[in-house]
Amino acid sequence: MSRPRLAIAGLTACSGCQLSLLNCEAELPLLLERIEFQFFPLACSPVRIEGCYDAALVEGCCSTAHEAELLRELRDHSRLLIALGTCAAWGGVATLRNDTPRKELRRQVYGRHPLPDDDVPRPLSAIVKVDAVVTGCPPEKHELLALLGDLLRGNLPVRGTAPVCTDCRMRENLCLLQERGMLCLGPLTLGGCAARCPSLGVPCEGCRGPAPEANVAEALELYCQNGFDAMTVTGRLRRFCPEWNHDQRA
């Protein structure tokens, strides 16, 4: 059986989704037997896009013309294009102040120094067709391995729908929002992380983006009852997903 050829690239991001793959230390030798890492600048030279890839896994949001060009090139060369992680899927932290003109943000950091133009950071789907999404900041290792397993079998990953609260119930965690009065975003955030943060007593910060099955109206009511106004909650939710709104999703 020929090994699937993968391209793995990063745009505007921290490389954490790609590093999560390299953090599968125990599984890497097996992955190498099954998969060809053809284009992977973070870990392999030379950096050259050629031939066809079975899938391109792309981390990060898109904020320059150069990145958009690379993204389109990867799309052209790949059968499937997967948005890897929250920045690629939703925009992520780079989009925190997308409501402020880019020029103003640049001025705050670089003064009036001339710099090449850049765009407002956007998720990959704003530029190219995205075939599947794996969220998380960073995504969980088991999700990356499941993605690679799916690709090996010629499938696309099944996307979760339930919020982090479901994971918390499964682990019989104390509810940080109702029992501790903490601003936990679990009710509205996509689960699948085994409620990693609430399980250690740390409220969910919403790093996996919106959960399709969340009951938004009910959750907002719950936040109000616990002393958090809608603006505070929305502000936190937009840390990872600038487009977050109060629409019912499912």
């Binding site: 490389s15 954490g16 953090n23 600048p41 870990a43 102040r97 705050q108 740390v202």
Partner: protein
């Protein structure tokens, strides 16, 4: 006639950069490193955010260095708002930072640098050529991640490290098990030193550079910047001393050191500052003293390997201390004032890291400054590339390209950090 040839995106480094080679009559006459990573603007993104959100946001500057960014931010915010973390929290943070050091150094040595010496493109080649060594490296790397996971809750973006404390304190049993694993991996770390010391170096000898690092605290921690040529700068004055400038070719600000640089940050600089090491690391350092002290850049990998031994020993020592003191569940300390400003210095795997924040009376951030080791190292990288081009005068352009890329990797650059 002068023409320019660029090395396409640098491979096996974190982030996006390239080297441009200036040519005249078919010979390379100059080289320039360009960090063209897209503008991240973190220093603007955090403005207006509440103090407790800052560490959670800025750790996203970089994944490889996320623990050390988080701890730097926590320290700066805490100092600014007058929060004093418990001794247990302080030790656990030190442990998490050492875990990050282990993961980063193992990743760089085995996955990013070693292929240069074995004539392959990356870890897939290593798996074919030297599977035992790759396995050894990945085992060390995995342990670094387990430390970060146990203390920080996650290897990347460690959410369990909070302002004033931890979400959940690891148990004595978990820490004791980690101590056993650290003891068991020490042999692999020492073998790494041997492996790296035995690599055939093809880079020409380049002039040694003075170094700068954080001192005045336990390993990788401190309150001042010290240089190998005898300068000392308190944390509050470090940003001014580093003197960041803007360039036309890099999106990362360049430290200009008031025109007195360049200074090197990172493993080689730290070992040259004679910061005390644990016994096995000290012995390794003593053995390779002549290569490390005033060593040239190609000794960076060896310095990194010695630091791997140091970080593993130091982690074990920290766990011993924690267990001796007795592990207690603690609640995070909450601030009583919301206005303030402070600067924190810390050593990231690649060198000195600075975080500086100011908060208004509501605890909202009004200003942020981050200086990262790769931004500091830009001047040293530029000077070294110039020396390299001089030394390789007469060589083919393709040969200079290969060596320039290897030289840049000696710095283990982290470009997402540099263009934060």
């Amino acid at each position: 006639m002068t023409s320019v040839r660029e090395i396409n995106q640098l491979a096996r480094v974190e982030g996006h950069g390239r080297v441009q080679l200036m040519q005249q009559d078919g010979r390379v006459v100059g080289a320039r490193l360009e960090l063209y990573e897209s503008l991240r603007l973190f220093e603007a993104l955090v403005v207006g955010r509440r103090f407790d959100e800052l560490p959670e946001i800025v750790c996203r500057i970089c994944s490889i260095c996320s623990t050390v960014h988080k701890v730097a931010a926590l320290q700066a915010v805490e100092t600014g708002l007058g929060i004093v973390a418990s001794p247990q929290t302080v030790l656990l943070r030190q442990l998490a930072v050492q875990g990050g050091q282990i993961e980063s150094h193992a990743l760089h040595l085995y996955c990013l640098a070693l292929p240069d010496y074995l004539g392959c493109g990356g870890f897939p080649g290593l798996a074919r050529l030297v599977p035992t060594e790759l396995h050894q490296g990945l085992s060390i790397k995995a342990l670094g991640n387990r430390i970060q996971e146990l203390v920080g809750g996650r290897a990347i973006h460690p959410f369990n490290l909070l302002l004033g404390g931890l979400g959940t304190v690891p148990t004595a049993e978990q820490l004791a098990q980690l101590a056993d694993e650290l003891l068991a991996i020490q042999g692999a770390a020492l073998a790494t030193v041997e492996l790296v010391a035995g690599l055939q170096e093809s880079l020409p000898l380049l002039p040694a550079l003075p170094g700068c690092a954080v001192t005045g605290g336990p390993s990788l921690f401190g309150d001042r910047l010290t240089t190998t040529d005898g300068q000392q700068v308190a944390a509050a004055g470090a940003h001014t001393w580093l003197d960041e400038q803007l360039t036309s070719y890099s999106h990362a600000k360049l430290s200009n050191f008031g025109g007195k640089g360049p200074y090197l940050a990172g493993p080689l600089a730290r070992l040259n500052l004679a910061i005390p090491c644990e016994p096995a690391a000290q012995a390794a350092l003593h053995r390779f003293n002549t290569r490390i002290i005033n060593g040239t850049l190609s000794a960076s990998h060896l310095a990194r390997a010695i630091e791997l031994v140091q970080a593993i020993e130091r982690s074990g020592r920290l766990i011993d201390e924690l267990l001796q003191n007795g592990i207690r569940p603690e609640q995070p300390v909450i601030p009583e004032q919301f206005a303030g400003s402070a600067t924190a210095l810390i050593e990231a795997p690649r060198g000195l890291l600075l975080h500086q924040y100011t908060f208004d009376g509501d605890g909202r951030c009004t200003g942020a400054q981050v200086v990262t080791p790769t931004a500091i190292n830009q001047a040293a990288m530029a000077a070294s590339l110039t020396s390299l081009v001089d030394r390789l005068a007469g060589n083919s352009v393709s040969e200079v390209k290969v060596q320039a890329e290897r030289l840049v990797r000696c710095f283990d650059p982290c470009i997402s950090c540099a263009v934060h």
